[in-house]
Symmetry: C2
Subunit: 107 residues, 2 copies
DNA sequence: CCGAGTGTTCGATGGAAACCATACACTCCC
DNA sequence: GGGAGTGTATGGTTTCCATCGAACACTCGG
């Protein structure tokens, strides 16, 4: 039978709908900053949530990705049992020109 | 007699010595964001700390300015009984190109 | 159908940060 | 010198957020 059982699609916020303060707050955290940077260095849709090298448990990690989605920084898609990620470079850069470059251009 | 009594000069941090995360955290607060924006719309050294339109008391205000100094965003100088402020536009922009523009270019 | 793997949700906890009220330090003007 | 104006420091309260452990939902491969 047609399985109605699909996982709840993650809620996304387009960068255009994101206030500056939200974007700044999302990036002003060491873990999320690491996530964004690592994501930027990988091919799109190539990284599942659990594949990142950050010193927090699953629960916290899930929360951080939720924040990144809400800031229009990350897009997610379900692929089998995993949730794979993509950095919304172009869209986010259009809304906040230079911000992403700034963050990715290490210290 | 020669008055040794001078007020402690405020400690400043040059933008070049500021980590990205510190800069972002400094700007990711509604009160400080308002301070920076209001300061950007005023002539340099024209605004004393108390002259800003933010809904917090003196103590909190003083703290916020301390954070802004530590992020290399604001320079202060004592002028009589008041402490006047200046936005370090050029220096901060050299260290974090575009970030200040982004924040000042309202929503 | 069960078990392993993956991610979300919930409740609780700890620590950081914002805030206030008070007290203090300094500068100026009368 | 006294008093008004301005800012800082201190102590205590509250609010927020990052984190964890555990329970739950879903997918896939035996």
């Amino acid at each position: 039978m047609a399985t109605t059982g699909h996982r709840a699609a993650p809620e996304h916020t387009h960068p255009d709908d994101v206030p500056v303060l939200t974007a700044l707050a999302a990036l002003a955290d060491p873990v999320r900053l690491a996530l964004v940077r690592e994501l930027a260095g990988s091919a799109e849709w190539s990284r599942s949530c659990g594949s990142f090298d950050v010193p927090v448990g699953k629960a916290a990690l899930s929360h951080h990705f939720s924040v990144l989605r809400g800031a229009g920084l990350v897009e997610q898609r379900d692929e089998g049992p995993k949730r794979v990620n993509r950095l919304r470079r172009a869209e986010f850069d259009a809304r906040f020109p230079g911000l992403l470059d700034l963050v990715l251009r290490g210290d």
